[in-house]
Amino acid sequence: MKKVKVIKIDVDKCNGCRACEAICSAFHSTPKYSSTNPERSRIRVLFDPLKDVYVPVLAGDYTEAECNGRDLYTIDGKVYDECSFCRASCPSRKLFKDPDSDLPLKCDMCEEEPPLPEPLCVQWCLSDALTYEEREEEGEEEEKKPGEMEIGLESLVKKHGAKKVKDALARISKG
């Protein structure tokens, strides 16, 4: 059996305060909580108050390809933006990329030792738009996930090729 961590998102309850963005970016800063910057957050609330659209989205995997087409959702008469429900960090939008390095950001469920009872975005969402549950699923326990640096490097390798990255690293470490 493997443990699956689930953040349940109830868009009807979202009040658009973006506390989730604030606390996520603070948690992932170094030293921890030393700085806040929603642009570095791995959760973003995509909102458009005048259309009553509020969608918290957690950063998923990086993808190097843009979608071939776009989808527009209409739910209860409200039209949602074509990328509203997508978790990817991708070339077609600025979302989920570190503003300085442009490296992709991905939600890690606030992994730390000892583990937090709930990811911080959930803890700071007093409206209960975000709630947390863990459930058991059939399957093998996942292998240890790659760390932040590995994810970053991997995407650099994808983008520029292994050789260029290696050369750049060598140059930088000499300096």
Partner: protein, 671 residues
Amino acid sequence: MRYAETGVNLEIDLSRGGIEKEGTDPGLTELYLGGLGTNARILWDRVPPETKPFDPDNLLIFSAGILAGTPAPGANRTIVSTFSPQTLLMAYSIMGGFWAPELKFAGYDKVIIRGKSPKLVYLWINNDKIEIRDASHLQGKGSLETAELIKQELKEPKAQVAAIGLAGENRVYFASIEQGRSSASRGGIGAVMGDKGLKAIAVRGTKDVNVAQPAEFMELCNEVLKYIKDRADNPIKGVPPILAGLGSPQEMSLHDEEWHTASFAWGHARHRRKDFWNKKIEKQWKAIQDKSVERLISCYNCPMKCGGIIRHPKLERYMMKCYSKLTYTMAAMSDLAFGFKIAGLAQEYGVDGYTTPQVMAFALELYEAGILTDKDLPGLPAKTEDRFFYLLEKIVRREGIGDTLADGVYWAARKIGKGAEAYDHNTIKKHEQIPIKLGTLNPIYYLMWSTGEKINITQIEGQIPQAPFPTREEREEFVKDWVQVPKEEIKDFILQWGEPGTGFPNYPTTEAACDLVEWQETMHYIDDATGICAGLSSFPIKPPYHIHNLPRLISFATGMDIDEAKLWQIARRNRTLIRAINARKGMRRIDEKPPEDHWRKRFPEMEAKLLDDYYKFKGWNNEGIPTKETLDELGLNYVSQDLEQRGVYQEKKAKVAKMDSKKEKSQGKKE
């Protein structure tokens, strides 16, 4: 590295198109903290009292509070300061929303605007890139519409926009600056923005805001959040529902409006309708509200849901908060459906939700009295509601009589004449007040209405129940966990209130009244520097932020070493500096008067003594001007020197001497 603040202000000269980034002096942060405090210092230094509100040299300052952008819940306020065309005093209106944190993320604490643009422009702050852009295509557009158009044209849906509507462009004295559901609306600062030819400021930032001691800071933030959560489950017992919770009054979710409809005055602050609220009205209004409020919404990083998205069949969606739900409704003696409709329109035009309905009700009173006639109001509809819409259109366009009414009740009454002055019965310092008319003078409120300089009573009051608890047990229960008080003696006020002989106006003692006012006001001045919303701090009963945890929060965020005494002193310095700015502008004791009919029972001698004692308590002279000693003790020597040089302290003596010499002369004649 600077903590909590960015240490950079933007200086914009609209006359020359100049854009400069100025590093700020950390010494000023230690003295005035930030937000309103440092705004006041800039206005004192750079805008001499001779400068008129619509002179190019008047400054318009947008400042983030010092904690805005940190994870402190509810730290999101923008403090806008300038000189008001209406009161001719310093105006310092404040708004929540998302603008201030975004400004910090862009790397700035303040935007300081001077000069006037020859054509309508807007400012685009995108991290390090600043542009003054043409806004001629936005002329006459609504405030929300402007924000949407700017975001589209910049292709920046995440930009935060503060904009004026038509009223600001036309320099209506009660024009607001709007930003989503949040507006900085008192004192006519929207008119100053319009006068400068500035339609909007759009800002987008992707930089970090740092705190000095992250772990300690977060611990406090978590305590605050936990307290807010606990309070949601445990409202204060024994007070009306509207006062039992945190935040701005939760008007968008609460249906019980007995407190506002029965305690506040209807029409042009004329009629109490103590029996208005009943089951039938409640049912009707609940249905209207449930249909209109689509979602409850918040400002940046705040769990309170003070705002609502409003859907109206005849309007675009808009956002609303708090008492603006009822200001138009009650001024027009109408119902909630009318309130939701006209408030949406008024917000697009960008006018203050408190003043505007009062001005319109005033105009209709003059019409009833024959002072304004059909000649002044051509084509005036028959129904009151339609007349309000009619007047709104006239005012925001400054069309016909609207041009006079757009200056507010005080100035309009004097311009219209023919006895119109007698209808100016609800202004203080030339500014419309909340429509409240009560029975017997309350000494605490007497002092607050008289001496508050932020014009709105809600921006000086807070934390204290509005009526005594009936039993000793309830009083004891209330004070048991009242940790927010600055000193234990304050609890006695509640413990004794309700015993025989503790009715107004003789209760509480002057001494206690001074302490209570000082406490309430001080907490607001702290909020105005930190940018924490009053709804989580100075305004509600038993708030999560108070004088015992704020010094630590501020210290951990900024790296400064601030204890309770030091924070109290900073607030006192800021408050005294603003008083000095206004004294230099000519504000005197004579201006510090609640409307005559504010209470039915008045006590002139007692009131004079209260004010005397309060002035002394504050270290102000008998004209309400901070004394040299007070200013010097606060390190405001440059202020006392200036006031001395201008002869401000000599005025009274000169007047008295003049009167004495007159007396002598007349006595001489008699002899």
